[in-house]
């Protein structure tokens, strides 16, 4: 099975508290916050590596990112990817989800035939959850999101379970397809010291816009219909009111307030 896993470097979510917004430019200030591979992408990578371990094949980690993200992205090789392909070009900068998906789809096509493209459901930095569906559309193959179970049947078809807030469904289909996963699909394994050593001999390919069949007008800011009007921190409103009296009196006041706010019994 030929698998491509889309990965993205994001500011370490554990240090999200340090993130601030430049009010003048309306952009996020990320300096001093180290990047990590987007957490859900690690689950996608683990899922692909598990499929390879059971059924054979190859796992390619694919990322569109600035060149200085390479050391962070190389962790994908220690996590089991067979090779890493970095799409890096100044002209990609400022791309929205559509422009990004266009570049990724062009790269997937450039790399040859594939069976499965896997993504995390969303990223922790922008959280649009749009790219996997857009990539599937560009590649003209089916897309299933919110996947928490992914198996390959003996005839090579995929059996997937997708879960959302309304329930779950199981789908079967032929490859190729694009799948995005939730954190429930697996527990990514630890990277061992031997994994780190073994990753050093693996192939790293860096491609620019010139290597891909792309029109200038499809990429970067120019290829991005999305316009961010404003980026702001939501105003924090927390008002605490202390109730007094006996517990029964306090409960009565609280119940009355809740009723007036629109809460109803049952």
């Amino acid at each position: 099975m030929e698998m491509i896993v889309c990965i993205k470097p994001v500011p370490d979510p554990k240090q999200a508290g340090k993130m601030t917004i430049d009010r003048e430019t309306g952009t996020m200030i990320r300096r001093d916050i180290p990047s990590v591979i987007n957490p859900l992408d690690r689950h996608a990578l683990e899922a692909a590596v598990q499929i390879r371990e059971r059924h054979g094949g190859r796992v390619t980690a694919l990322s569109m990112a600035p060149g200085d993200a390479l050391p962070v992205l190389k962790e994908s090789l220690a996590r089991g990817a067979d090779r890493l392909v970095l799409l890096s070009d100044r002209r990609f900068a400022g791309g929205d989800t559509l422009a990004t998906a266009g570049v990724i789809a062009a790269a997937v096509g450039h790399l040859g035939t594939f069976d499965l493209v896997m993504c995390g459901d969303e990223t922790t930095d922008s959280g649009t959850a749009q790219v996997s569906a857009q990539v599937a559309e560009f590649l003209d193959v089916p897309n299933i999101m919110h996947v928490d179970d992914c198996r390959v049947s003996p005839d090579g078809d995929l059996r997937l379970r997708s879960r959302n807030e309304e329930g779950a469904f199981t789908a079967e289909g032929q490859t190729p397809m694009v799948v995005s996963v939730t954190a429930d699909i697996n527990e990514p394994r630890y990277v061992t010291l031997m994994d780190v050593l073994d990753s050093e001999g693996k192939e790293v390919v860096v491609l620019s816009a010139d290597d891909l069949p792309l029109e200038e007008s499809w990429i970067g800011l120019e290829g991005s219909p999305t316009r961010v009007l404003e980026l702001f921190e939501p105003e924090r409103k927390s008002r605490a009111e202390m109730l007094s009296g006996t517990p029964a009196e306090q409960a009565a006041v609280l119940a009355d307030r809740l009723r007036r706010m629109g809460f109803r019994n049952g």
């Binding site: 190389k74 962790e75 630890y190 990277v191 010291l193 780190v196 050593l197």
Partner: protein, 377 residues
Amino acid sequence: MDFTLSERDRMLQKSIREFAEKELPPRMDRMEETGEFPLDLLDGLAKMGILGVITPREYGGSGLGHLARVLVLEQLGRICPAIPMSLEVHHMCIYGINTWGTEEQKKKYLPALADGKTLGVFAVTEPGGGSDVGGTQTTARLDGNDYVLNGRKCFITNAHVSDIWVVAAMTGEGRKGMSAFIVEKDFPGAGTGHVEDKLGLRGANTGELVLQDCRVPKENLLGGEGNGMSVALETIVKCGRTGMASVGLGILNAVLEEAVKFANERVLYGKPISRLQAIQFYLSDIYSDLEIARLLAYRAGWLLDSELPADAEATLAKQWICEAAARSARKAVEIHGSYGILKEYPVQRLLRDALVTVPAGGTAEIAKVVLSRQAMS
């Protein structure tokens, strides 16, 4: 001069950090209560390559070397210092066998010390003293194809959780009268004695080894008869002290994190106490100790990997860092005020752990004697 860590080092640092953050906290309460090493962790430590970090790859290790070992022990110590304490002595056993062992000894024992079945022991200290290596009383007498060992070893890390021991014993008189042996726990006459109940590093097992007419096959002599002093001193100084420096460094990481966290959360006079200059001075001291400790420990590891002289540097790193860990942990307790003495706050444990590192692997006074020789050379 390049102070940056390589891509490989940064990646292994990150992977061990992740492992430590997930695997150690669930085991720590029990370690504190019982003083026992969590044997169920051994398999994970083996799979991660931590047990065999300095073991060459051909003997089942990852062969990453001494700087990598420092980084690994630091990350584990940041969460639970008792774990790297146990591992640093385990690595001394490996260092001794890998440096002086015959091909047969390496093939037999090094893979077993990397695969998670057991920890290793390096036993020199006796009731008569640890720093006085020459005063060793345990004897080894050749009898046919065996040496017969008699004596007691005390303050031995991993004594009760190890199957493979490197033991120093006297085969003759004086400096050339000491020899080292690889003893298996199941050899006739090999046993364990008292378990120590320590103030800190409670999850690291410490206790006695008892050798009573213990029969050790001749082929388990390590490094040749009469070379035991070299085996003991080089292993203690190079591997042991760099390891202890790493334990202290791990503690300092945790001390700074806990101190900053509390200082930012604790509100007095309407603002976090981290805004008070008195607290800022404490934090500055702890931060300085951590940064200097890191330079000293990494340098010791780098010197060993570069096969450059490292005796004084490893001794300096061990002595300075463990003292720094103790004084910084004390300051972190001060920052916490009365909360600092409550068991639910980790700083009291870090102070207890740091105090145990100070005399381990040679007291501060012995280190100063070594350093004074270096100063006068």
